[in-house]
């Protein structure tokens, strides 16, 4: 145990490890805050779809040899999110199929592009990194760290500022609309924020695992708590704790970061499910 702590202290002296921890905590916070709304609105599939679009955009950016790919990916993902929201409003049922089409399409085209125009020597490693995150969080450039920090602050700010409206619209959209809340605008804000969160999460867990980061903390919190505020706070704290645990474990034991974080989230979910059952049987 003492050995591990000494090792950890050594690692913390390295700037890229500190970057990884900072970005990890912020990403965990944002995705969990958003996750509560997405899960309750039955929107979690949108996160999944958008993460595939982000993968496609990432592939496109690397094929085009764009050095700073994050802004490109961000713009692509935001546009898709807004379009999905608009079409989803016009044709509720078709929204699902459109999303599936776009999401699988981007995945396929992205992989195809990478095969036709291989950007670097090791294609499989590159694809694997983008899909599962592997250790790309440890290779963050300073600009990416700052961009992630800025975006995360904006996301948390928006969430806090609109917290009461987000609750009202998530709980009962038609009441909100009928009594004068501009639900359309808030839905748009939520769509943009989802896109931002997905893009900043990509480096951490990779595009295939982002959904886990969004869904697990919210579902775990909902097992135990029964009001919106408690669920939101619990999801945020839990997500940060799991992510830190995941990153540190993976550095010490040399495991892939993304999957370790998700594993920590799963363990927490099982724990909270158990706690929920106990709480219920005690209160009976």
């Amino acid at each position: 145990m003492a050995e591990s702590f000494k090792l950890l202290a050594e690692y913390l002296k390295l700037p890229f490890v500190r970057y990884a921890l900072i970005v990890g905590v912020l990403v965990a916070l944002c995705s969990a805050l958003l996750g509560v709304t997405l899960v309750l609105k039955r929107f979690s599939f949108i996160g999944d779809g958008l993460s595939h679009v982000a993968f496609g955009a990432m592939a496109l950016a690397s094929v085009l040899n764009i050095m700073n790919e994050m802004p490109v990916v961000l713009i692509f993902t935001i546009i898709t999110a807004v379009l999905l929201l608009k079409t989803g409003q016009m044709a509720k049922i078709k929204g699902d199929a459109a999303l599936a089409m776009i999401s699988v399409g981007s995945l396929a085209i992205g992989y195809l592009l990478l095969n036709i125009f291989p950007p670097s020597g090791n294609l499989t490693a590159d694809v694997c990194k983008t899909l599962f995150g592997s250790d790309s969080i440890l290779t963050l450039k300073a600009t990416e760290v700052w961009l992630s920090i800025a975006l995360a602050i904006i996301v948390v700010g928006i969430f806090v500022f609109f917290y009461n409206k987000i609750f009202a619209i998530t709980f009962d959209e038609s009441f909100s609309k009928a009594t004068g809340t501009r639900a359309g605008i808030y839905n748009l804000v939520i769509a943009v924020v989802i896109a931002v969160v997905i893009v900043i999460s990509m480096k951490l867990v990779g595009s295939l695992l982002i959904s886990a980061l969004v869904i697990f903390p919210a579902l775990s919190a909902m097992r135990v708590f029964k009001n919106f505020k408690a669920v939101t706070i619990c999801a945020a704290v839990l997500s940060v704790v799991c992510t830190l645990t995941g990153i540190i474990t993976s550095i010490l034991v040399n495991l892939p970061i993304g999957s370790t974080i998700v594993a920590a989230d799963i363990v927490a979910f099982l724990g909270f499910t158990l706690a929920g059952l106990i709480k219920r049987s005690v209160s009976k």
Binding site: F167, F171, F175, S176, K177, A178, T181, K226, N227, F228
Partner: protein, 237 residues
């Protein structure tokens, strides 16, 4: 000018008309009861008045400076998911959101008002409870308290007692009647099972059907089509 006027309103979905040429108005202080068979378009009418559903033709006019953010609404069904975590207080407070504009947090006054409304509806003991774990009657009271937070002027209620047992229904009707008489809130309520205990409260009646009827309660009783007779109340000659 009337608080709310419907002019030659035709309502429906996606251009398909459900009901044509509805005309009615509600003045401040009125209690308008909307009746009609299932599927006659009562809920659709309310949704059209609220702007949730565009009218096929015709107009809804707000008067007396009434704003959308000053209306309270109790939907027929609130499709709240089974596992939604929300406390009674959180649900009631959310009634203020429409009138808050860009202000992010509830004011002290709003918090006090929410408590008053919770008290008015006799659910103070439930305010920390989880909304989804309440009985149907308790949930309706919570939603009415939320509607009260949204308005001091106009309440639109879509079948507020459906699914409630007779005692809970009676209590709900008396609360609504008191809000109209004592707090001076204009009420527009849909109900098809209005019982004898509530039949004296409405001042106006709108009946939807092949031929719509709109008039005062007395005119409606005299017209001979009154639904109230079916419940064995005294019959007006």
């Amino acid at each position: 000018m009337a608080l709310l006027t419907a002019c030659d309103l035709s309502i429906g979905y996606d251009g398909k008309t459900v009901l044509k040429n509805v005309n009615f108005h509600a003045d401040a202080g009125d209690y308008l009861l909307i009746v009609g068979e299932n599927g006659s378009g009562k809920s659709t009418l309310i949704k059209t008045v609220l702007g949730l559903n565009p009218p096929v033709s015709g107009k809804v006019i707000f008067g007396d400076g009434l704003l959308r953010s000053q209306i309270g609404y109790l939907p027929q069904q609130t499709a709240v998911q089974k596992d939604f975590p929300a406390s009674v207080r959180e649900v009631v407070m959310s009634g203020f959101c429409g009138a808050m504009g860009l202000r992010p947090f509830y004011s002290k006054k709003e918090k006090e008002e929410a408590l008053e409304n919770i008290e008015k509806l006799g659910i103070s003991n439930l305010s920390k409870r989880c909304y989804r774990e309440l009985s149907g009657g308790q949930q309706q009271r919570v939603l009415l308290a939320r509607a009260l937070c949204a308005t001091k002027k106009l309440l639109l209620l879509d079948e507020p007692v459906s699914g409630l047992d007779p005692k809970a229904a009676f209590e709900m009707y008396s609360i609504i009647s008191r809000l109209n008489k004592e707090s001076g809130i204009t009420v527009i309520m849909i109900s098809h099972d209005i019982n004898s205990s509530a039949k004296d409260s409405p001042t106006h009646v709108l009946e939807l059907g092949k031929e719509c009827f709109f008039g005062t309660k007395e005119e409606y009783d005299r017209s001979g089509r009154s639904v109230f007779k079916m419940y064995g109340g005294e019959e007006n000659g």
